[in-house]
């Protein structure tokens, strides 16, 4: 097989740069595997390793610092047959740490070559996450305070199924590259080499020195026991369908009648766990079944099981512009949490507003018309109050017949909830009012 190097862009690394050895070893591995230029996508990072994509005549994707693994994953998921190779330096490992961990955990079939030269060569030799504590670099004393990251141990701990560490002078480097490239999963190769332009000026590093360092850090040879498992892309593919989208633009044909001309805004003030939003949805859906225009806004805390739960439902015989409720037609008071969240609205209420108030929930002084409901006496539990209040609201507002509410519940709710909901709605409609 011919070389996959780019004839129009010969390598321009500094004399003696470890990256150039890696470049030729990678090209040799491509040739050994008989891969063709169009089959391969080289995704490179920022820094001197980021020149790699230019030197190959393959697909080439050069992106932002530390993010190469994210682009590579997008390409691989979109084109599962592409052979995607990511090249980054130790700088990319540091800035893109979250992506390295995610890639190890995910096990998508990508090959990652880390050209580890222990410093940021391109910007002047600052320390990176792999700089030895004893090295002299362009970051003053900072590197002496932080131990270097062991990339291989990190990758293995995060679940990488295939991890290799080699000196760039290692005789089997291209053979190891080829193994990594053909491994069906996420394969990491941590290649240690010197940066003659920066790091090696103050830290001499002969091939022999590198061998010693690599041996001390530990040679990694490939498959990681306990981490080998099904490849992500193949597993994802098993969950994919091949359906064509089905378009149904038809909405709900009106099947019940509403007695409403103009707008009716109802606010349900409750607490988490009282099915306030579901009750609001049922009230809204009954409006939809009646052919009304409807909006529903909900308000609740991020702690979904505690705090206020508020639903605002606007029904209208005309299309709705402003989807807020300026002056509610009905306020349904179910719990203190909701009352407090409503704040100053209380002061603005006029007799136009019907306030349906649970007997055990105090409200601030207001100018609305109050109807008190003793849910306890009517044997309506906390979780059923909101739904039961719909029966009361239907009865007092006259907008819906109770049978229509029940019909809407039957049409919108899962079968398991239908009968119980119908019973609560009936109970609400029959509850004695104070």
């Amino acid at each position: 097989m011919p070389s996959l190097l780019n004839p129009s862009r010969p390598p321009v690394f500094c004399p003696g740069c470890a990256h150039e050895r890696s470049l030729h070893a990678l090209d040799k591995a491509f040739q050994q595997l008989k891969w063709e230029p169009h089959e391969v996508v080289v995704v490179s990072d920022i820094g001197c390793s980021g020149l790699f994509d230019v030197f190959f005549a393959t697909h080439a994707f050069h992106g932002l610092h530390g993010r190469a693994l994210t682009y590579a994953a997008g390409i691989k998921l979109a084109r599962p047959h592409a052979k995607v190779v990511v090249v980054m330096g130790d700088g990319g490992v540091g800035i893109g740490g979250a992506h390295l961990l995610a890639a190890c955990r995910r096990n998508l079939d990508l090959t990652l070559l880390i050209l580890n030269n222990f410093n940021f060569g391109m910007t002047g030799g600052q320390y990176s996450c792999t700089t030895p504590q004893g090295a002299r670099v362009a970051s003053g004393f900072l590197n002496t305070l932080e131990p270097p990251l062991d990339v291989c141990r990190t990758a293995a701990a995060a679940g990488a199924p295939f991890v290799v560490r080699r000196s760039v002078y290692s005789a089997d480097l291209s053979a190891k590259f080829a193994e990594a490239l053909s491994y069906p999963g996420f394969a990491v190769v941590d290649v240690w080499g010197g940066c003659p332009g920066r790091f090696m000026k103050a830290n001499p590093l002969s091939p022999k020195d590198l061998d010693v360092l690599v041996e001390k850090a530990g040679l990694w040879d490939g498959p990681v026991s306990g981490n080998e498992r099904a490849e992500y892309g193949a597993e994802y593919a098993r969950r994919l369908g091949a359906a064509a989208p089905l378009w149904d633009w038809k909405g709900i044909e009106p099947r019940v009648r509403a007695n409403l001309c103009g707008r009716h805004g109802a606010v349900f003030l409750g607490a988490a766990g009282e099915r306030v939003l579901s009750a609001g949805h049922l009230w809204a859906m009954t409006g939809v079944w009646a052919g009304l225009h409807v909006t529903q806004k909900n308000d609740y805390n991020i702690t979904v099981m505690r705090g206020p739960s508020i639903a605002e439902v606007l029904l209208s015989s005309e299309p709705i512009d402003y989807p807020g409720i300026e002056e509610p037609d009905a306020v349904v008071v179910l719990a203190r949490d909701g009352v407090e969240r409503m704040g100053d609205v209380w002061r603005e209420l006029s007799p136009r507003t019907l306030v349906i108030q649970s007997a055990d929930v105090p409200v601030p002084e207001h100018g609305g018309r109050t109807v008190v409901v003793d849910f306890k006496k009517a044997a309506v539990g906390r979780k059923d109050r909101a739904v039961a209040s719909l029966g009361i609201l239907a009865r007092l507002s006259g907008i819906f017949q109770i049978e229509d509410l029940i019909e809407s519940a039957m049409s919108s709710l899962p079968p398991s909830q239908r009968d119980a909901t119908a019973e609560v709605l009936r109970k609400g409609a029959d509850v004695p009012l104070g």
């Binding site: 862009r9 230029p37 169009h38 996508v41 995704v43 994509d53 230019v54 005549a57 697909h59 080439a60 994707f61 050069h62 992106g63 932002l64 993010r67 994210t70 682009y71 994953a73 997008g74 390409i75 691989k76 998921l77 979109a78 084109r79 047959h81 592409a82 979250a98 992506h99 995610a102 994802y236 969950r239 994919l240 369908g241 091949a242 359906a243 989208p245 378009w247 633009w249 909405g251 709900i252 044909e253 949805h281 809204a284 859906m285 939809v288 225009h293 409807v294 909006t295 529903q296 806004k297 909900n298 308000d299 609740y300 991020i302 709705i320 512009d321 402003y322 989807p323 807020g324 300026e326």
Partner: protein, 374 residues
């Protein structure tokens, strides 16, 4: 006519599928999360891929890779996520990677109020990426707009090879409302132009033109780079090549603004005031305008649905016959600077709130009267 009860985020999902989106990556964030969950329900059965990224940076990175591999891609987030997208947005701008970004805005700054709406990112979406080259921002007012404008967003992103924002908000994305889906405008779907015969230069195009596309991983090797490049996709520092490139990136978006200036102009002949607004505030403005007219006060209304590039012709022509403008926005004054720049020297008044609730129709009524008596 049957109605469907849906929120803006559901409409975005439906539109994305309709427009041919087959890749989505996102990170959960209120109030945009239901787009992620909706896409996860919608795409895999159709063979499309949905990824929950390890963060927002990864999410947009996955999308850029997938888009360059030929899939229509979308991500969705809110203000804090747009901040993290920034560097990759400039990548998509400079390297002409089609992408739809849905920003379901929430009240800021910073973490802000996750469950409260606002339109605080209007200048941020335009300028919040390095280099300052243009993007497209479309602003829906309701769930139906979310459908139509998301389809337009895909079409523009594919046609112009540029990131396109859908500037939704909590008040649109998470408010359910009845929509007549049969009547909703469904623009025909546009795909990116594919390179035909002959040698392929990935960024070759006429001035103001758009390069033809070939996918990463396809039969012809393709070069893509975040670095400043020439038509061949190789790094360049040649000032003439760089100038041609950045001028084209600007011109390709701004020169075709007339073909995607979306707006609603409700003009009243004798009106002396034009209310200009966008987003959910437009709905308060519509209500305010009908109330003012019912009181015998003529007033005109311009609802902009294309915010960037600024549809200057539309603004100028709507402002022509009025004496003053009132810009109303759910922030402390952002787009008003564009409006007053375009209609200068006509007086431009401003009313804005960013306090976690919608601007009320009565407040706009009051501000129109105040402006007219000032």
């Amino acid at each position: 006519m049957g109605l469907t009860f849906m929120d803006g985020n559901e409409a975005v999902v439906k539109a994305a599928v309709y427009a041919g989106c087959r890749f989505f990556a996102g990170y959960p964030i209120t109030p945009a999360t239901t787009i992620l969950s909706g896409m996860l329900e919608a795409l895999p059965p159709l063979g499309g891929v949905v990824i929950q990224g390890e963060d927002e940076i990864a999410s947009i990175g996955y999308c850029l890779g997938a888009s360059m591999a030929g899939l229509k891609a979308m991500t969705a987030t809110s203000g804090p996520g747009i901040s993290l997208f920034s560097e990759n947005i400039s990548f998509a701008v400079g390297s002409e990677i089609p992408l739809v970004i849905v920003n379901v805005m929430r009240q800021g700054p910073s973490t802000g109020a996750a469950t409260r709406g606002a339109d605080g990112d209007i200048q941020f979406m335009r300028w919040g990426h390095s280099g300052g080259l243009p993007v497209v921002v479309l602003a829906p007012t309701c769930a139906a707009d979310c459908f139509t404008l998301t389809v337009h967003a895909f079409n523009l992103s594919e046609r112009l090879r540029v990131p396109v924002f859908v500037a939704s908000s909590k008040e649109i994305g998470m408010t359910r409302e009845t929509v007549d889906l049969e009547a909703v405008e469904k623009p025909p779907v546009v795909d990116r132009k594919i390179h035909g015969e002959g040698p392929y230069l990935p960024f070759a195009a006429e001035p103001n033109g758009i390069p033809a596309f070939l996918p990463m991983g396809g039969p012809v090797p393709v070069r893509q780079t975040s670095s400043m490049h020439g038509p061949d996709g190789y790094i360049t520092t040649n000032p003439a090549v760089m100038e041609a490139m950045v001028e084209r990136l600007k011109g390709k978006v701004e020169s075709s603004i007339d073909s995607f200036s979306f707006y609603e102009w409700d003009a009243q002949e004798t009106a002396s005031t034009l209310v200009v607004t966008y987003g959910v505030t437009a709905r308060s403005a519509r209500a305010a305008v009908s109330r003012l007219r019912a009181q015998g006060r003529p007033v005109s209304l311009l609802v902009l649905k294309t915010l960037w590039p600024v549809p200057e012709k539309v603004l100028r022509s709507a402002a022509e016959s009025v004496r003053r403008l009132l810009v109303v926005e759910a922030n402390l004054g952002q787009y008003v600077h564009e409006v007053s720049r375009v209609v200068c020297p006509k007086p431009t008044h401003f009313f804005g709130l960013m306090c976690g609730r919608m601007i009320r129709p009565e407040e706009i009524v009051r501000e129109v009267i105040r402006a007219e008596s000032s």
